[in-house]
Symmetry: D2
Subunit: 115 residues, 4 copies
């Protein structure tokens, strides 16, 4: 079993054992993802941009970051399960589309701008 | 190779081919995750809570949701790669800890409250 | 003095007294906004959509919601101050533009869709 | 009339004229805030941390940032209106509480840490 499948099964079992399916509509799960992204952001917000990576590679920050990233992933996997979306297949399709959209020769060294 | 590993390798190759490692410090990647969570939220924001799941299970919404969820996952995987975090192992540890913290017999049918 | 001006002055004084200007670059303040939006989301995530308003109109939830909304506003006001943006003028311009973009007769009763 | 009051009245009129009150339950408005914070994040995500302020102080970025910040503020004001929360009073109370919690002499020059 693949590891995203493994997490999907674990989250489904965790939810069913607690009779929490009733809370897992898409908008609620999305707010849960936002909550966890918020907790992850709080770990980084005041760190100098140039030190953030080094600090997050070592404890105690490393463990906290791993926990909050896990929470984001677990709710994302749960939302995909509720909607019947195959996250790995969708992500492979997305990165392949991005590869065509942003030709390496044209964008090398330049971040795409949104404005 | 596991599927999270597969995505990690694809994102790393995508980044390296474009010389975009320079943009991928943790705070920037975190803002990219926020941007994609925002796009996902916009797909759901005005849907009635009770219809959201049904609507998101069918196109055209299904494809758009899968794309935005993929973007969230891909940047999350990329952030984990930059920080040297094993997302699958961290997520398994997190859900096991949650299993102990929220004993099924005590919380069955009741959502944990934050306030 | 207008009330957004009042909050701008209070946040500036709060920041200066603590010598925290050094932490208030735009990306850091944005992550702080995300953190507070996350805390607000956690208050609502598992509430039934139809009960959320009623529950949030009464304590204890009401006070917690007011606090987290305040934090979002305060960091938003602080970011505007750092960037020299007049939030009230910008918001008036934005809602007037939205009024022209979404003609009442054409969109009455229909939520704009993003997909 | 104060400027937050002014925005509250404008958003209420905008909503009523379009018969959009039906979409403005708290969880939906919260997802709308998340969507706008996401759009704001996309404007900043790949900017070098040290250049972000300077770039955002000039057009074309300045106008885009002002627009997205306005959207965040307008939905926040709308959510406060739906819940009957006085945002200015709540924000003043919050910053005064923060002033007591973080005594200037004790935290000067040091960012509060969350981990």
């Amino acid at each position: 079993m693949s590891d995203l499948e493994d997490l999907r099964h674990r989250m489904r079992a965790f939810t069913n054992e607690r009779d929490w399916e009733q809370f897992h509509d898409p908008k609620s799960l999305l707010l849960a993802i936002v909550g966890e992204v918020g907790e992850l952001s709080e770990l980084f917000q005041w760190l100098p941009a140039t030190d953030a990576r080094g600090l997050a590679e070592e404890d105690p920050l490393r463990s906290r970051v791993a926990e909050e990233m896990s929470d984001v992933l677990l709710y994302l996997v749960r939302l995909a399960d509720v909607l019947g979306i195959d996250l790995h297949a969708a992500a492979v399709a997305k990165i392949e589309a991005a590869g065509e959209r942003f030709a390496a020769d044209e964008v090398r060294g330049t971040a795409p701008t949104k404005h």
